[in-house]
Symmetry: C3
Subunit: 139 residues, 3 copies
């Protein structure tokens, strides 16, 4: 069995945002030499997500509006978590809707993707350094 | 390490619906010869889901009503994604709630399931051909 | 390839609750002898979740309030699933928001975690025995 582990550093200038990291994952898969296996991609922080969807800016706007409706940031006092001095309880909720991780099949050395699948980092409490883990296993 | 990759073609006659694909996944696991490992099952399209829950039609009705409440289809103009000429922004939202993929343990050659676990394809923008990926790895 | 499969038994005294199971997963990883690989942790019941987030009681309270808002338990008659004699349709909905499973990288024999990641069992229909599956594969 082969394996390879890499880490991406993210540091978004805004509280919320989406970043396409498909290229970075492809590079790790290639470097691993794995032909048949799986790659795990996950946020290492609990107020961020990794998910797969469309690289379309209108949709990303819709996600942002929708998540803010499902789990509003303000008033921050509505969340008991924020009594600890944080103001990011909503980010922990939004991240559960969008997910922590994706597992993608590696087939013939490549991400085995449908026509529109792209991997995104979703940030819900940015303006500081966070990491994404990429782990490939297979043969 | 052994591995096997198969693809199911789905083509639902309605916009939304749920299809039990447990049997198909079991067949791929059996054909793989894997005794101990994992199987990944994911939608290859970004307006559909693969998830595990109960095979009970009342519950599927409840899911449909609930998802429509969380992310309504109409009015389609409420979503910026639909400015691209699509009318399926809601499907991209619903799919995030239900998830893209499941990973299931394979133990002694079988899906290692609790008493009620069944694998479903969830369609949120049907009436066209889509695919599901099934990938088994292990030994 | 090495693999190891273990099962935890859960039996919460209340309908809903969260239990930190990180220590138990760490023990299975250690016992497996896997240095590089992945560990799958999933609820084997369809009204419960396994997810990764913060071990902070205020946040757990926020999750409980938020999930009850997104998918209220009462009135139980609002759900068709409950016509079968169950009263737990809301639990099947809540579990979809929080997820069935997590997949975690094992690197140098340990859970490859960010600073705050902890694994939780989320119960939405307790007061009876349920199980969690832990499966490690790798080398």
């Amino acid at each position: 069995m082969k394996s390879r582990t890499d880490y991406l550093t993210m540091n978004l200038p805004s509280r919320r945002g989406f970043v396409n990291i498909t290229r970075e994952v492809e590079q790790v898969v290639k470097a691993s030499g794995v032909q048949e296996g799986m790659v795990l991609v996950n946020a290492m922080h609990i107020s961020a997500s990794v998910f797969i969807n469309d690289d379309e800016s209108g949709l990303h706007h819709d996600y942002d509006v929708w998540l803010e409706k499902l789990a509003p940031h303000a008033p921050t006092s509505q969340y008991r978590h924020n009594d600890t001095g944080e103001d990011n309880a909503d980010a922990h909720l939004k991240r559960q809707v969008m997910g922590r991780e994706v597992v993608v099949a590696v087939t013939e050395g490549k991400l085995d993707f449908g026509p529109w699948e792209q991997i995104f980092y979703g940030e819900f409490d940015g303006r500081r350094k966070k990491r994404v883990l990429i782990k490939v296993i297979g043969e």
